[in-house]
Symmetry: C2
Subunit: 349 residues, 2 copies
Amino acid sequence: MDDETKSSAEVTGPERLRPTIRDVARHAGVSIGTVSKALNKGGNLALETRERIIAVAKELGFRPNSLAQSLHRKQSFTVGLISTDSFGRFTMPIMEGLEECLTDRRMQVFMCNATDDPALEAQHVESLLGKRVDGLVVTARRADKRPPIGPLAHGLPIVYVFSHADDPDALSLLPDDEGGAVLAVQHLAELGRKRIAHITGPEHFEAVRLRRAGYFSALAAARLPRDDAYYLPGVWSEAWGREAVARLLDGRVQSPDALFCGNDQIARGAADALRERGLDVPSDVAIVGFDNWDVMTLAARPPLTSIDMNLKALGREAGERLIDMISGEKLGGLQRRPCSLVVRESTGR
Amino acid sequence: MDDETKSSAEVTGPERLRPTIRDVARHAGVSIGTVSKALNKGGNLALETRERIIAVAKELGFRPNSLAQSLHRKQSFTVGLISTDSFGRFTMPIMEGLEECLTDRRMQVFMCNATDDPALEAQHVESLLGKRVDGLVVTARRADKRPPIGPLAHGLPIVYVFSHADDPDALSLLPDDEGGAVLAVQHLAELGRKRIAHITGPEHFEAVRLRRAGYFSALAAARLPRDDAYYLPGVWSEAWGREAVARLLDGRVQSPDALFCGNDQIARGAADALRERGLDVPSDVAIVGFDNWDVMTLAARPPLTSIDMNLKALGREAGERLIDMISGEKLGGLQRRPCSLVVRESTGR
DNA sequence: TTGAAAGCGCTAACAA
DNA sequence: TTGTTAGCGCTTTCAA
């Protein structure tokens, strides 16, 4: 099986020997089975005995060996999290929510990073399966399709979160990018803005295409004209935000009175560019960003209204659904969760 | 003992039964012991037998149960990472390095978040000990002292990284903040700057005090005068960077020709403020930041020279030292690792 | 060169 | 109410 021969750390130091259930039994003057029953709050035991056993166990510093327990119970109370985004900005809140949820259930999470390396990913899956994880969560850098985890993990519960498995039977949890865009544009329209431009990232991101769709449909819903010169795909940077503003203002089109930006970096760049041209945000041009990344939204001048993908909640839900699946539920399909609008000064208030 | 009664997910679904070593033995027509020997590249086996066994194992999709192996070998090939920084900006690169290092050794990492909650931390340690982790890595939000992990984990190898255990025997790995500050000021002095100010964060951070010490000592080494009006502690924000610049330029002191900032956010704020006052960076005022956080350094105008704490390498080393300790080495004490200078336009080039 | 068997630490069904 | 015992899946010593 392991045909690689990388040396593993060897134990040469003193074994840290901990008391076993056997020791507890001996000290308490009862049988092993009785101790087990007492510690697992099982069936029928004299209250006195139970308490004595628990006391002895505590005194000895007994801590049951989960490995042995799992071996028997066929459940390890452990899940693997595989990320293809080397613990990046989007993975963090997801991890946080996931970990929180699982900790509540007394489960623990193995972190595995497999940034764009399918072989490494396979190795991780291999190890995790060896450790008999009860399930897997897969997360990715971008919300585009990715190949499913493959047949290695056949039958193992898997949840894809912020990552879209290219397998209709798999459960994929994603933010509703389109709905988020609608929220943004609706908000601007309600403020009375008539000329809303959309500056965004590269179109090969599924998220960009979805947000564009939301942008156009919300414009239509608000009976606002659609002008293709107002749609500017580009890259995810502040510099692009600044440049896009230059193009809009120096171009032949009428200047917009609002910007919906594909992320907060673009939005911040746009805000800077507008200020430097003497235009006021929000009175001349209102701005909505995307991601609600505090590092950007709070530091920008003025602070940015933004769309929050609620990634922490998404991570938490991934944990909940995974537990459902571990408990035997059959779940699947692509599911999108709503974004929310966070209003700050860049759209007035 | 678990005296809490939170329900754990229960297995009700179909058991995913995998072939055991027993199945392999049966199919290959040999004894269990022989299979074990074959798969673990152990001692004396007929080549033919070994190959046959390996073939059968592969065909059956046999994957040894690490839980059972660990039970016997008394090593789980698993470590716990406890963070008190809810997977924040500084924890990420550390995790990345750590995970990379341990993956090379075929070990896996349990992620535990215990943001400022000692009870939660204790619960995590408890669980990890139950899972018989081979060691623990503890990381924190700020490089200030924290109480050690307590007697629960007595005898277990522990490495504190980017966190300073209040226990001289514990191994703590930290960036050399003072040395980093020296690098920055030295660099500015070498560029011929004479009036170098230091805008930084709150003094209750040990890092702030250390960097200040480095700032003053490097000034002295360069035979530059020390002016207390040039030392401005404050908060870790862009807004503070802007305000500090205002104070320096509007104050009674002579304007500085260089700024060493306690982090990149302050540096960016300072750069913005200078530009908006018509001063050029770097020709009028050069700037060095701290953290080398690309989100800030690259987006700033001009891009910022900064001090890198090499956190990923620190994480990697934490893994290496932990493995040394697991292998029986006795390691301890507070150790600081060098920062490095990354030069960009804000100090010319 | 291979097989048999005694555990690793714990659970759970069955006896006493 | 408590004890006995047969495993869980694997490793390793000792015999064959």
